[in-house]
């Protein structure tokens, strides 16, 4: 007979599982709009997990953090990305550098590796959410894989944002979140980064008439 796991713990584990599944879904998705949808859902899951932990531990600042996540990662950034996609007319990513089954296999290896990497942290963690640390590391590394294998600037950016989701999830599960001033600062940086990127995309488009990154491979060593 397995020991009974409390309901909120089960819900948290479910959130963690959904985060991981969404990372894999992003890895395989080539339609840019769907990619942004997935990102928004991942942000929503992160917010849900944060709310659960906040309710369970009664940490007031986690409610604020969840609200920030919803405002920024579920509403504002996806809206900004949809707008960019429409204005720049980039709907599809081209074939990734590694084919789909290959990417998935590498992804699996990464998940196993992440759990190994998270082992020393999980061993000393005292939070109720420590089982999710391995998943958080996986989300970060899978996002990294996505950035490496994609060619379109837009998919790389979604990968970058997903990596940041994973980091927040990691902070939440290891220590119930960072101090508020740091969380605000990080959120501000992400926001500014996306605004800078918006400007930047238009500059790239103006110059090359496309957002395909193979235009950006001319600076080589020795030139």
């Amino acid at each position: 007979m397995m020991p009974r796991i409390p309901l909120d713990q089960q819900l948290l584990d479910a959130c963690a599982a959904v985060m991981l599944l969404l990372s894999f879904a992003m890895l395989s998705q080539r339609r840019v709009v769907s990619l942004v949808n997935l990102y928004a859902i991942q942000g929503g899951t992160l917010a849900a997990a944060t709310l659960l932990v906040a309710w369970r531990t009664g940490e007031g600042h986690l409610y604020l953090s969840a609200a920030l996540t919803i405002a920024l990662k579920v509403i504002f950034l996806p809206w900004l990305l949809y707008r960019l996609i429409r204005r720049l007319e980039v709907y599809w990513d081209t074939e990734p550098l590694l084919n789909l089954s290959g990417t998935m296999l590498v992804g699996l290896v990464i998940v196993v590796f992440s759990f190994g990497l998270a082992q020393p942290i999980t061993a000393v963690a005292s939070t109720a959410t420590r089982s999710a640390i391995g998943i958080a590391v996986s989300v970060v590394l899978l996002a990294f894989l996505m950035m490496i294998t994609r060619r379109k600037a837009m998919s790389q950016v979604v990968g970058f944002l997903s990596m940041e989701n994973g980091l927040f999830f990691g902070a939440m599960s290891a220590t119930y979140g960072m101090p508020m001033v740091v969380e605000l600062g990080v959120a501000l940086d992400v926001l500014v980064a996306m605004l800078v990127l918006g400007v930047f995309f238009f500059q790239i488009r103006e110059q090359f008439d496309s957002l395909d990154l193979h235009h950006l491979e001319s600076l080589k060593e020795g030139d």
Binding site: E59, H61, L117, P120, I121, A123, V124, A125, S126, V140, F144, M147, A153, Q156, F160, M163, E164, L167, G170, A171, A174, T175, Y176, M178, P179, V181, V182, G185, V186, L188, D189, V192, A193, V196, L197, V199, F200, Q203, I204, E206, Q207, F208, L213, H215, L216, E217, S218, L219, E221, G222, D223
Partner: protein, 485 residues
């Protein structure tokens, strides 16, 4: 109070220039704001010399001998660079490479960049340090792409993505640090990320977690230092952006990033009681040094050449911090100072030389000494200084590092010597025909600013001949603080 001015003036400057940065007198105001910041830095430094380390504003800011010297250096180079950028950007406008709108962006971001660096240096909060480092990237991305050429866009994109990903690793490292600290310093730690508190309890922090944290922090901030193999963004960003930005990136940003690495190293070393952090720093340092010297040979663009030279010198400083101990730390701090001054002065001359030739390719730049002797001599002296010729200060720091390496890490000595030799041949061989040789260069529409060049070189020369006692005390105090095995 000094701190308020130090951090407030650049922010105010950024706000003012966001509206009025395209005005005719904007460059003069840029100098004025930078001068104000520098004066604030000087008074702050005087206060630290008088009263010792300071904790300000509910311990959120911490000034000790280590960072106050970098604060002063940063404010000083920001000031001289603003002096240089005054005629430089006017010439760029006259050559039609820059529109008034972009000039506004440039001035505003220049001040914001100064602010993020000073914030990174003075903050006591490891989380805010991260935020400021990321802010430094964001404020310079649009400056790298200021000319909107294909090359500059590529450089900007690379800079953004590589440093973004790198800094994300550092965030993970910071989270791990917080995780380890929270156990000792208590949850809901308003204090758990404050460096002074971490430093006080560093021997109790969980070693396995801190070791992992250090790997991520080193990779993350190391990307910004330009340590190989994460250096790819650096030469592109230096070559494609406007020259004043190359000067501050090389002279200041790399220093600030290295500062972050060293701060982390102090904590981790206190927890681990092993040589792991030192070995990692030495390894990354030597690798950067070697790779950079090999790439030096293949460069044709003058700004890329000196960008690789920056990687080389950051490698030397990182290696010295890795060796640790009072002498090596002293040498590394001195090396950071003289490299920063020399490299920015080189970029000043290089900027005007490239404007005269209308090209950054070294084959197009010839005979500087005939047409404008000051630029030619500036470049020659700067290159000799950076190559570690006596009596310049770089010689003193490299000599100290080499002799310490012979005693502490004899295996590294041949690598260091070989790399320095190769770098000498590569750079001197390129600079010589640019300074002498036949010329067909044009005149510039505005008189170039060479005062900063010779001011920097004079200080470097002075530091090579004689380090004033208060400065030496200062370095020694900082070196003791950094410690080592």
């Amino acid at each position: 109070m000094e701190l308020l001015f130090l951090l407030g003036l650049p922010v105010a400057g950024a706000a003012v220039f966001a509206f009025a940065g395209a005005r005719r007198e904007a460059p003069e105001f840029n100098v004025a704001f930078s001068l104000g910041t520098f004066l604030a830095a000087c008074t702050l430094a005087a206060r630290v010399i008088r009263e010792g380390s300071l904790l300000l504003w509910r311990e959120q800011f911490f000034i000790d001998p280590f960072n106050v010297f970098l604060v002063t250096l940063t404010a000083f180079v920001a000031l001289t660079t603003s002096l240089f950028s005054r005629p430089y950007m006017r010439i760029e406008s006259a050559h039609g490479r820059i529109t008034p709108g972009r000039l506004k962006l440039y001035h505003s971001m220049y001040q914001l960049f100064t602010f993020t660096m000073l914030l990174a240096l003075t903050t006591n909060n490891m989380g805010l340090l991260w935020v400021a480092m990321e802010g430094a990237t964001l404020s310079t991305v649009l400056l790298v792409t200021l000319y909107r050429t294909a090359g500059s866009l590529e450089a900007g994109w690379k800079y953004f993505i590589l440093c973004g990903v790198g800094i994300a690793q550092a965030l993970f490292g910071t989270i791990l640090l917080y995780f380890a600290a929270e156990k000792i310093l208590g949850a809901q730690g308003v204090t758990a990320l404050l460096w002074t508190h971490l430093n006080a309890v560093k021997s109790q922090l969980e070693p396995s977690v801190l070791a992992l944290a250090f790997v991520f922090l080193l990779v993350g901030y190391g990307t910004k230092v330009g340590l190989a193999p994460l250096h790819n963004w650096l030469p592109d960003a230096h070559a494609e952006g406007p020259t004043p930005i190359s000067a501050v990136l090389s002279g200041l940003l790399l220093n600030v990033a290295l500062y972050a690495v060293v701060r982390c190293k102090i904590l981790v070393e206190g927890s681990l009681h092993s040589a792991l952090p030192s070995r990692m720093l030495m390894g990354f340092g030597l690798l950067s040094l070697l790779l950079a010297t090999l790439f030096l040979w293949r460069q044709r663009d003058i700004k890329r050449l000196f960008a690789y030279s920056s990687i080389e010198h950051m490698g030397i400083a990182t290696f010295a911090f890795g060796m640790g101990g009072p002498v090596a730390n002293f040498a590394a701090l001195l090396h950071m100072t003289v490299h920063s001054l020399t490299k920015s002065s080189i970029f000043f001359t290089v900027g005007h030389a490239a404007q005269k030739a209308g090209s950054q390719l070294m084959d197009d730049i010839r005979g500087l000494i005939t047409l404008s002797p000051t630029i030619g001599w500036g470049l020659m002296m700067g290159s000799l200084a950076i190559l570690g010729m006596p009596p310049f200060g770089v010689f003193a720091s490299e000599f100290l590092i080499l002799t310490t390496a012979m005693r502490e890490q004899p295996w590294a000595t041949p690598i260091l010597l070989a790399a320095l030799g190769i770098a000498f041949a590569a750079i001197f061989g390129r600079v010589q025909p640019m300074v002498f040789g036949e010329t067909r260069l044009r005149r510039l529409p505005h008189a170039p600013a060479l005062l900063p060049v010779f001011a920097h070189l004079a200080i470097v020369l002075l530091l090579g001949l004689y380090i004033p006692p208060y400065l030496a005390d200062w370095y020694r105090a900082a070196a003791r603080l950094i410690g080592g095995p």
